[in-house]
Amino acid sequence: MLLLTVSPALSRAATDPGEDARTILAIRAGDRAAEERLYRKYAPSLLRTATRLLRSTDDARDILQDTFIRAFERIGELNDPDAVAGWLRAICVRLVYRRFRQRKLLKVFGLDRTEEDAQLERLAAFDVGPDVRAELALLDRALDTLPAEEKVAWVLRHVEGLSLEEAALATGRSLATLKRRLSAAESAVARFSGGAS
């Protein structure tokens, strides 16, 4: 019996609707403190997302750094300052895709030295029992079999708990594409889990 479900909708911290807009305006005006405010607010969730997607803490830190470098460079392109959370996540996911492509290329030449130290099993909370950890390990192996696009879609939806619309926005794909990839990933995970069990 599966002890885990994959339903979405993790709660997100409520924020002051005008807070991000004010921060963005201050950043555009050259306010260095505002940059740090924005970073401190969103860095933890982005680092967590990057870690879960890439399964490597080192890679995740690099992605976090590059996400904010790009964000600060392009802050003028952000049309809706209140949508900064989704915008940052989209940047982060794009960089994750790029890292997957780099890994693939390096693997072809036998040069991929990525140390995966953050699989789902290792990220389990302290109080999680061994049976659930075993299921997480099974999920890790199932996710290993997926193409990057499907893996990202599945993790954003079922681990990060994004809505379909949020996941589509983060991946930069249409809702239909996102659904198709998600469906493929879910089928593969189900097959793997069923076969393994």
Partner: protein, 402 residues
Amino acid sequence: MKPRKIGEILTKNVDPSAIDDVWERLDSARKQRHQKRLGRWAFAFVALAALTAFVMVSYRSKSSHEIEMAGALQLASGEVLPTLFGGEDEALAAFDDGSRVVLERASALVPNTNGGGTISFELRRGGATFDIVPHGPRAWVIDAGIAQVAVLGTKFHVVRGANFVHVDVERGVVRVSGATLPVGGRTLTAGQSVDVREERASDVDPDDEVKTLDAPDAASNDALEHADAGNAALDARRTTHASRVTNETTSWKPLAEKGDFGGAYDVLGAKGVASETNRAETTADLLRLADVARLSGHPGDAVAPLERLLAQHRNDANASIAAFTLGKIRQDALGAPGAAAKDFETAIALGVPAALREDAFARRVEAYSKAGQASSARAARAAYEAEFPAGRYRDHVEEWAP
């Protein structure tokens, strides 16, 4: 056991030191990224510039590079190049580099130098149309006795008569040199032609010379049917002729006309050049004597005929060329830049031909500079720059007269 959502069983904690570390290095990473971008642009610019330079240099040096690499020219069939003849009708010869020659009736074309990036033919008689592939791997030279045609790629027609050579160009550029052409020869472009006629000295019967050396009779025509035998026959006739000659005035000119300046000087010697200088009646003879001396490695002996030409035929069309040549000899071979500067002044004043004009202006600057006449050198530089604002010696004259 109640199922749990995945997100709920994963830790939500992140390493706070990781957040701090990334923030602290964010500034330097942004600067590095900015510098990397600039570096990329700079690299792209340098790479583009290098590529452009490479393409230009490759394009410009293509001919000379290929010339260095080219081996012997062969027939298109792969056979070794034979002596080519035009029989009763025109004959076509195709070569392995794509070039072609159409030989007119009763013509004979003998390959001489073939290799090292050069192919030279002697057009012994008749006419031929050369269609040489542009930018090919070899320099082509056609020797028609009293005229030589140098070319890299073009289409032109050469006719060798008893005492004349006619060259006309259909496409491209050729350079024709000959005894009666200005020093350095004459450049012909598409649609242009030149006739080079043999000059006759009063004490020589040039027809005899031409007949004997250059226009094979029927017997020698037969000999030419077999290349080796033909060459041997001609060489034998030349030897016989040389031994027959007792008067130097009848022997050095044909050798000089054939470009054998060393042989001509051997006949004359320094004394012979001096005596012939005194006897010469035409400026062409004086220039030819100077050529024999300087091109056989005796530039000092060339001074007398050139000085006489300048002294006695100052209004002759060849006077400016003589002055220029004299300046070159004094500057390059005799180490007399002061006198050379005066010669270049004379050449310019007499109206040196356009092909030599820029050289004369530039050499004047160099000569004054080497003679230690700085103010004259600067004046000469100013004159050069005024005359040739984008001249090819601009950098040099700046060095000579800073």
